[in-house]
Symmetry: C2
Subunit: 417 residues, 2 copies
């Protein structure tokens, strides 16, 4: 053994797989992320990602906030900080959650590296290997990925035009107890502008969920990244309004400010917050101090609300454009959801078309991308003729062109059968 | 069940412990973090934390970088980005690692939310419940905390004046195989200016470690947060120079730029990098885009190197001040390490004094804080008469006053026996 000055030497490749933990084999790359790599070709019109439109990032506001907090509080904004998060930001969030119908005080709030970290922390403190999670089919891909790393199993409930069907929960609960010996770790819901389904749970279903969860002593994870991006209709009270004692609510700045800040938050009962904080300490000590100061400055200046209004206006137009284009260019046999907000809609094509195959063999050749529906089914037992379409990222004229290209390809496919 | 408009109502408190995963009971709050809360009293002189001095934060440089990247690349800097990290920053780090003696290319580099996330990712992909980690006694507290969450066991090797004693590794390896049925997940070393011991591994011991690790097919985690903070002597080649094929190297901007950015990096063999990226995707999708752009701008401008020189000058003075004050004010029976760099030294008092008890009953009354040594022993089997003293945070005059107060209290304690 010697100090090797030749740093460009050939280095042996070891077989690492034999060194790894059992859980590591459950980890998979996100299909979306792998797909996004395929679609980096700038000629491709991508409805695949979940990216906000960069045109509506508050760039000037972030620049001003950076300047203000670094000049005025640079020593604090660049130092280590509390695991729980920056106190003024926690206060702002508790207050704004309160206005939204959630009985939160600052002690119920934990800042996270985006909502994805919140999903990870939930997996970490709740999921034993082999334990079930109840969720919809389809459901959010990032949640599946986060919880697979903890060796979760998934039991899914149907999602119809109004979101998750609640009638199945009690049966599902007993089935998972029977199968695993344990009650499910929690039930996961996306009540507003569901990713990927685009559906919104009506109040009656939320009340039904709250009653069943209480009866079964079930924890509820309420993921609400798009709640403030409503383009029509009235806000519906969150599940955390109905049963705050058993709801873990997730919010994020990614869609209303900017995802590159990596800032989300958890609202949870105080008794549980201690566990979240311990888990987060081990994960990364705390969320970035500077970005929390910057977000707080933007919040305190009162510019977030008008900014969200501006975003809603832009996205509403893109949603309407996509809906109109679908009606105009797609075959009659196709169906799609009509989301009241958010970033996505869910389209179904005739059963004869497999959307994974169609993406690879047809859509990408026409330079259009989407995410095939099966990726949102944790047990891969559906969605083969569905796809998720994002309408927030591409400008309206590009949306029309992309939907048109897909429509032409779909019609051709159906005709050739 | 009804929508409850009274958000200040009494909310039932559930018993969450019965809902949690088995691993959650292994999570504990960091003793340091709990202690720091006690020491938020501004009158207390704290040698407890591991905080860099805010006087040497590159505040103006960060402000300028924010302005530059937000104005010039705001749409990218605020958007989602790749899990692996920002390509130009990966290139800069690969290049600077190369100069440091590590044969890295950008594909070997992953950006993390500080080094703590790197420790967590390592636990996640390597540690099965009940699997052993080999480490020194004492060792870094944050690593213990990160890996306890994965239900690791720890087998420890003695740390003497030159760092970890390598003669014990082979025996330890076989002992852990015997005890758990599996080889240890990896060996964890802090070769430069050890936290908490302040020791530096000489080249012979690094070579010895590399030979043993190769013989036993053992992965090495080389944690090097302070490597660039050397106040005297010559750089010693990192272990990753000797056995890059089996070393996972951890670096961080926390001590050389600012911890509030939450930016660290992993250098690992490419075959393993795929697993780290999958694990990180599930954890938080990616590290903050904005802070990576900011750090990259500072790196590209070439101002990091002179800035590190400035930090070293300030910390060297503080270290010397602490060493002089210890010699002047502490009882003869005490000993301490003489670190060539970093942020900490390790002091031993006579065995009759329990440093945890002494902290609570004496030191805090004299308004001085440190971290009791036992916290750095994963199996709590030593360090009862030791303490970790940080010399980077308090200015020189405060260091003198704090060491003097501790010295007087220690002398009093020894006299009273």
């Amino acid at each position: 053994m010697e100090v090797n000055r030749n740093l460009d030497r050939e280095i042996p490749v070891l077989d690492w797989e034999t060194h790894l933990a059992a859980r590591t084999k459950f980890m998979r790359s996100s299909a979306i992320r792998e797909l996004l790599k395929l679609t980096q070709d700038p000629e491709i019109i991508s409805f695949a990602g979940g990216l906000p439109a960069p045109e509506v990032f508050p760039i000037r506001e972030v620049e001003e906030a950076c300047k203000y907090v670094i000049r005025g509080m640079g020593k604090q904004a660049l130092q280590y900080s509390a695991t729980e998060g920056y106190q003024p930001l926690k206060e702002f969030l508790a207050d704004s959650m309160h206005k939204y119908g959630i009985p939160a005080i600052p002690e119920n709030v934990l800042l996270t590296n985006g909502s994805q970290q919140a999903l990870d922390l939930i997996g970490r403190i709740f999921i034993d290997p082999g334990r079930y999670v109840l969720t919809g089919r389809p459901t959010y891909l990032g949640a599946i990925q986060a919880w697979r790393a903890y060796e979760a199993k998934f039991h899914t409930m149907q999602v119809d035009e109004q979101g998750m069907v609640m009638d199945e929960i009690e049966h599902a609960y007993h089935k998972t107890v029977e199968d695993s010996g344990y009650p499910p770790a929690f039930i996961y819901v996306l009540p507003n502008f569901h990713n990927p389904a685009g559906t919104t749970l009506p109040l009656e279903r939320r009340i039904q969920l709250a009653e069943i969860a209480t009866k079964l002593d079930l924890a509820v994870v309420e993921d609400d990244p798009y709640g403030q991006l409503r383009y029509e209709g009235e806000d519906i009270p969150p599940i955390c309004n109905l049963i705050p004692e058993r709801t873990i609510y997730l919010g994020t700045f990614s869609k209303i400010m900017a995802p590159g800040l990596r800032l989300g938050w958890i609202v949870a009962p105080e008794a549980l917050m201690k566990r979240f904080i311990q888990a987060k300490q081990g994960c990364d000590l705390h969320t970035g101090t500077l970005v929390q100061y910057v977000a707080n400055d933007i919040c305190e200046r009162g510019i977030l609300k008008p900014h969200v209004k501006k975003i809603c206006k832009v996205y509403k137009k893109r949603r309407d454009t996509m809906l109109d284009a679908l009606t105009e260019f797609w075959p009659e046999e196709c169906q799609w959801t009509d989301p009241q907000g958010g970033l996505f809609l869910w389209a179904r094509v005739p059963e004869s078309i497999d959307t994974t195959k169609f993406l690879r063999e047809k859509a990408l050749k026409e330079k259009v991308a989407y995410v095939p529906g099966v990726n949102f089914y944790p047990n891969a037992d559906g969605g083969h003729n569905a796809m998720r379409l994002n309408f927030s990222y591409a400008p309206p004229d590009v949306i029309v062109e992309g939907i048109k290209r897909l429509g032409i390809a779909l019609k051709k496919e159906l005709k050739n059968e």
